[in-house]
C-alpha cells in the first residue's frame, strides 16, 4: 500500500515539474505542434467513428424502451444530454488513453532503453522539457477538442438511427436535442476532459520516462500507461462530477 502512495507522490511531482517547466524557455513550439498532430489529428477518425456508432446504438436501445412509455419525442434530448454530459467526455478519455497513452509510454520507454534520452541530455538539451512537457500539453489541449467531435458525431449517429425509424427531420432532431440544453451542460463536462488529458499525458510520460527495465520495460510501460490512466480517469470523473454539481447546481439533472 505504501508503494502505491509512493508512486502516486512521484507521479504528482512529475506532473508538477511539467507545469513549472511550461514557463521556462525554450517553449518547444515545434514539439507541441508535432504532438498535437499525433494526439489530436491521428485520433480524430477513431473518436468520430466511436461517437457515431455509440450514438446510433444508444438511440436504438433508448427507442425500444421509450416507445413503451410513448416518450419517443424525448430521444433527441436524452441523446444529446447523455453525450455532452458524460458519454462524450468519458469515452473520449478512455479511447485516447488506449491509443495515445500506450504510445507515449512505449515511445519514451524505448527511448530510455536505447539511451536516446541520455543522448539528448548529453547534447545539453533538457530531455524532460523536450520530450515530456509537449506530450502533456498536447494531451491536455487535444482532449476537449476531440470530446466535442465525439459529442457531435454521437448526435449525428443518433439522428441517423432515429431517421431510419421515424423519418424525423434533421432540423427537428437538432431543435429537440438542444431545446433544454444550457451552457452548463456543455462547458464544465468538456473542460473536465482537459484534466483527463493531463492525467493521460502525465501518467504515460512518467511510466515511459522513468522506466529502467530495458526492452522488457517497453511493453510494460505501454500496458501500465493504458490501465492506470483509464482507472484514474474513471475515478477522477466521479470526483469532477461532484465538483461540477457543486459549482453549477443547474447542470444536475
Amino acid at each position: 500500500m505504501s508503494n502505491v502512495f509512493e508512486v502516486a507522490g512521484d507521479v504528482s511531482l512529475f506532473g508538477l515539474r511539467a507545469v513549472t517547466s511550461l514557463f521556462r524557455r525554450p517553449i518547444e513550439g515545434d514539439q507541441i505542434r508535432q504532438q498535437l498532430a499525433e494526439v489530436g489529428s491521428k485520433s480524430l477518425l477513431l473518436v468520430i467513428a466511436a461517437g457515431f456508432a455509440l450514438g446510433a446504438v444508444l438511440t436504438l436501445h433508448t427507442r425500444s424502451t421509450l416507445v413503451t412509455f410513448g416518450a419517443t419525442a424525448w430521444i433527441p434530448t436524452v441523446q444529446a444530454l447523455a453525450f455532452f454530459l458524460e458519454i462524450g467526455p468519458l469515452v473520449t478519455g478512455l479511447l485516447v488513453a488506449g491509443r495515445v497513452g500506450s504510445g507515449i509510454g512505449a515511445v519514451l520507454s524505448n527511448m530510455r532503453a536505447t539511451e536516446q534520452i541520455d543522448a539528448i541530455e548529453s547534447l545539453s538539451i533538457d530531455s524532460f522539457k523536450y520530450l515530456v512537457v509537449p506530450r502533456i500539453i498536447a494531451c491536455t489541449i487535444a482532449l476537449p477538442i476531440l470530446t466535442i467531435f465525439l459529442d457531435f458525431s454521437g448526435v449525428l449517429g443518433g439522428f441517423l438511427a432515429e431517421y431510419a425509424a421515424s423519418r424525423l427531420s434533421f432540423q427537428m432532431y437538432i431543435a429537440q436535442s438542444f431545446a433544454s440544453f444550457e451552457w452548463s451542460n456543455f462547458y464544465p463536462p468538456t473542460v473536465k476532459t482537459a484534466v483527463f488529458g493531463f492525467i493521460i499525458g502525465t501518467v504515460s510520460a512518467f511510466l515511459g520516462y522513468t522506466t529502467n527495465e530495458g526492452a522488457r520495460g517497453v511493453g510494460r510501460a505501454a500496458t501500465r500507461s493504458v490501465v492506470i490512466s483509464s482507472l484514474l480517469i474513471i475515478v477522477i470523473d466521479v470526483l469532477l462530477i461532484k465538483l461540477i454539481f457543486f459549482i453549477f447546481p443547474e447542470s444536475a439533472i
Binding site: T114, D118, I120, S122, L123, S124, I125, D126
Partner: protein, 246 residues
Amino acid sequence: MTTEAATAVAFKHVSKSFGAKRILRDVSFDVPAGEALCILGRSGTGKSVTLKLIISLLKPDSGDIWIEQEEICGLKETEISRVRRKVGFLFQDAALFDSLNLYDNLALPLLRLTNKTPDEVDFVIDRVLSSVGLEGDKRKMPSELSGGMRKRAGLARALVLEPKILLADEPSSGLDRITAAEIDELLLRQKAEHNTTLIVVTHDVRGAKRVGDRIAVLDRGALIADGTVDEIVHSENEIARNLMSE
C-alpha cells in the same frame, strides 16, 4: 579551485554504487588534453558508468570529477549543460533519435544550442557527415542504416558541436574487424586534426592498442592498472597482463 591546466578529465577517488551493488571503488585517473585513454575491462566492471559520470548523466557517491579546470559534481543543472558542451558522447548503439532522419539528428543540437543560420547548419552537417563518409545518406532514417553506418552517424552527431573531449562507449561492438578498424581510424583522425581528448571504453584489446596512448584496466570496479600499452603488457597485475594478451 583549479586542477592542472593541461588536464582534460580527472577522476579523484570516485566511488559509485547502485543500491547494494558497488560499481566503482575509489577510482582515480587523469587524462591530459589531447591524449587518448582506453578503458579496458570485463563486462560489469563499471566502464560505461565511468563515461556517464564524466558527462554527469550519473552522480558519484563520493569523490570529485574535473572537466578541464572545473569540478562538476557540485554544479547546478544549468551549469552542467555548459560543461556538457565541451564533451561529445558516442553511445554503444549510437542512440540516434529514431523519429528523425540523419540530417535532423545532427541539426537538433546545432539549431538549439548555437546561433548558426540554416545555411551555416547545412554547411556544418555536410562537413561532419563527409568526414565520417556519410555525405550521401543525410536523408536516411536511422532504421535504414547498417551497424557501421549507425556508429559513424553517432560519431558525427557527437562531433557536430566540436567538443574538446570525445567519449566513446564500445565503438567497435557489434562490428566486423574491418569496420571496427575504420571507426578507430575516424577517432584517431579526430584526435590528430582537432587535438580532441579521447576516452574510449572497449572490450576490443586490438582497438585499444591501436587508439590508446594510455590504457586503464578496471576490474570489479577498481582501477588495477594504468599506463602505456607496454607498461600494461608488463604490468605486475596478472589480470591486466592476461587481458592485454587476449
